[in-house]
């Protein structure tokens, strides 16, 4: 391996929300996402996954421990990871193009240059004809693709919080295969590192090189499961024995993390 730092590296991260009720959200979390790798973080609802991503985005300053993006400590610095929040956060008052270029605009890029950069990506994401549409005019799947396009156009590794959680099962499966396709379209050395948060085991296994399994709250990493399936993966892979064995391993790890 080269000596260049990992895209994402988290070590000994602990976070407790202080307030009326003290909530221990993360305990001693350590994980690493190498450059160009696709990693997933899987765990039950409420175990601290979103909190970990918010730490990486610079929105939450952890109680202790360290998070690094491309070798530099996050320490509450914003604008270094391409963060896609769990809720729908398309700005209703911006057209599709205006939403897509948000990060570029905030970096101070002139608007026409932003659009020149965004247009081919939006074409690739199947939104070429909809650049002038308002978000409210788009279907659920298109809205998610737009939110992903916006994230792709931001700087740093992609940290995606349950991007397909709100979609129906069929659309979700389509979107998973589509995400694999757009992510692996780039040559291997230019691929963006991804940390995908999900509670869907099939999704994690279908897309990732490595799946990190998180225990119930306070979240700890209880297993790190490599997924040696060849790419590109298809829906047929989901029904193989190898896939079932990996799925069983994830379920066992989730079981260990309960209670």
């Amino acid at each position: 391996m080269s000596t260049s730092p990992a895209a994402i590296s988290v070590s000994g991260l602990t976070h407790t929300f202080e307030g009326e009720h003290t909530v221990a959200a993360l305990r001693d979390v350590t994980l690493e996402v190498p450059r160009g790798a696709f990693a997933s973080l899987i765990g039950r609802s409420g175990c601290g996954k979103s909190t970990l991503l918010r730490v990486l985005a610079g929105l939450v300053t952890p109680t202790s421990g360290e998070a690094r993006i491309d070798g530099k400590a996050v320490g509450g610095r914003l604008g270094h990871a391409a963060y896609m929040p769990q809720q729908d956060t398309l700005l209703p008052w911006r057209r599709a193009m205006g939403n897509a270029v948000l990060a570029l605009e905030l970096q101070g890029m002139p608007r026409d240059e932003c659009e020149r950069l965004a247009r081919p990506l939006l074409e690739r994401f199947g939104l070429g004809e909809f650049v002038r549409a308002w978000p409210s005019e788009l279907s659920g799947g298109m809205r998610q693709r737009l939110a992903l396009a916006r994230t792709f156009l931001a700087r740093g590794p992609l940290i995606l919080d349950e991007p397909f959680g709100a979609l129906d099962a069929l659309t979700r499966q389509e979107m998973q295969l589509w995400l694999q396709e757009v992510w692996s379209a780039a040559p291997v050395e230019e691929r963006r590192a991804v940390l995908l948060v999900t509670h869907d085991i099939d999704e994690a296994l279908l897309l990732s090189d490595v799946v990190h399994v998180m225990s119930d709250r306070p979240g700890r990493i209880v297993a790190r499961i490599e997924v040696p399936l060849a790419r590109p993966r298809t829906i047929a892979d989901v029904t193989t024995g190898e896939f079932a064995a990996l799925k069983a391993a994830v379920l066992r790890a989730l079981g260990r993390g309960t209670g």
Binding site: A57, G58, L78, G79, P85, W93, L102, L106, S136
Partner: protein
């Protein structure tokens, strides 16, 4: 054709009821032979309007100018104060009660004071309108700014956006619907404010016209002015609605769920 059909369906009942009321009014006044200085019949009001058709436009122009200028002042100062209150919690806690308290001073007390302070020109009337219109705009806009979606704010911050950018990209656009709700209320009361300002002392305007008509017991002319005031109020309300549609096109798209 289809448009007029829609208008008829949505406003038909109101128009019908109004027509029936006007007719009943005419009949009752004639049947009971009510003196014209007490309650003039609708036909009498129409004749009065025809008599004063030459002097009315100047008065309407004055009042309308005051109302629009006052609304503009109310909008600018209301939004500025709202932005300040939304971003500084200390100011919000301090100013909110004062703002509510200020609404309990009757307009008929404030208006003469403002005229005493600022003279008899157009300025005091503009200020009376602004005082009336300021509160609904400020309060609505503060609520709108504070209700902005936390996820959207986090998103802009995660992209490196600071306070100002959060305000410009998320809070202000998110507050627009609330602002326009406030503006519509203010627009409804704007003409009333201007007329009260004129009533205290003026050289032109519908308030002055009413004062003169009352002094000479021309109740029919008072009714003419009242009807015009109602008409202008409705027009200003419609203007605010139109402005909302122009400024917030995303709220009025086909597939919009709101």
């Amino acid at each position: 054709m289809r448009l007029s059909g829609q208008v008829l369906r949505s406003h038909g009942p109101a128009i019908g009821l109004l027509a029936a009321l006007v007719l009943a009014w005419e009949l009752v006044v004639r049947a009971l032979e009510v003196p014209v200085y007490l309650v003039p019949a609708p036909t009498r009001i129409a004749r009065a309007a025809y008599e004063v058709r030459a002097v009315l436009p100047a008065h309407v122009r004055t009042t309308l100018t005051e109302a629009l200028a006052g609304l503009a002042v109310a909008a600018v100062s209301g939004v500025a104060l709202a932005a300040l209150m939304a971003s500084v919690p200390f100011l919000r806690r301090g100013l909110y009660p004062l703002l509510v308290l200020s609404q309990n001073v009757p307009l008929v007390v404030i208006a003469p004071l403002i005229v005493i302070w600022f003279g008899f020109g157009i300025l005091p009337k503009v200020l009376v309108v602004a005082v009336v219109g300021f509160f609904p705009i400020a309060v609505n806009t503060v609520e709108g700014l504070l209700a902005a979606d936390g996820g959207m704010i986090d998103l802009v911050r995660s992209m490196g956006g600071g306070r100002w950018q959060v305000l410009r990209l998320v809070r202000l656009p998110a507050a627009l619907p609330a602002f326009f709700s406030g503006l519509k209320i203010s627009a409804t009361y704007a003409v009333l404010g201007a007329v009260i300002g004129e009533w205290v002392g003026a050289s032109s305007g519908l308030g002055l016209f009413i004062t003169r008509a009352q002094a000479s017991f021309r109740t029919d002319r008072v009714f003419v002015a009242v009807l015009i005031i109602a008409g202008i109020s409705i027009a200003l309300f419609a203007l605010a609605e139109l402005l909302a549609r122009v400024v917030m096109p995303w709220r009025y798209t086909r597939a919009s769920t709101e």
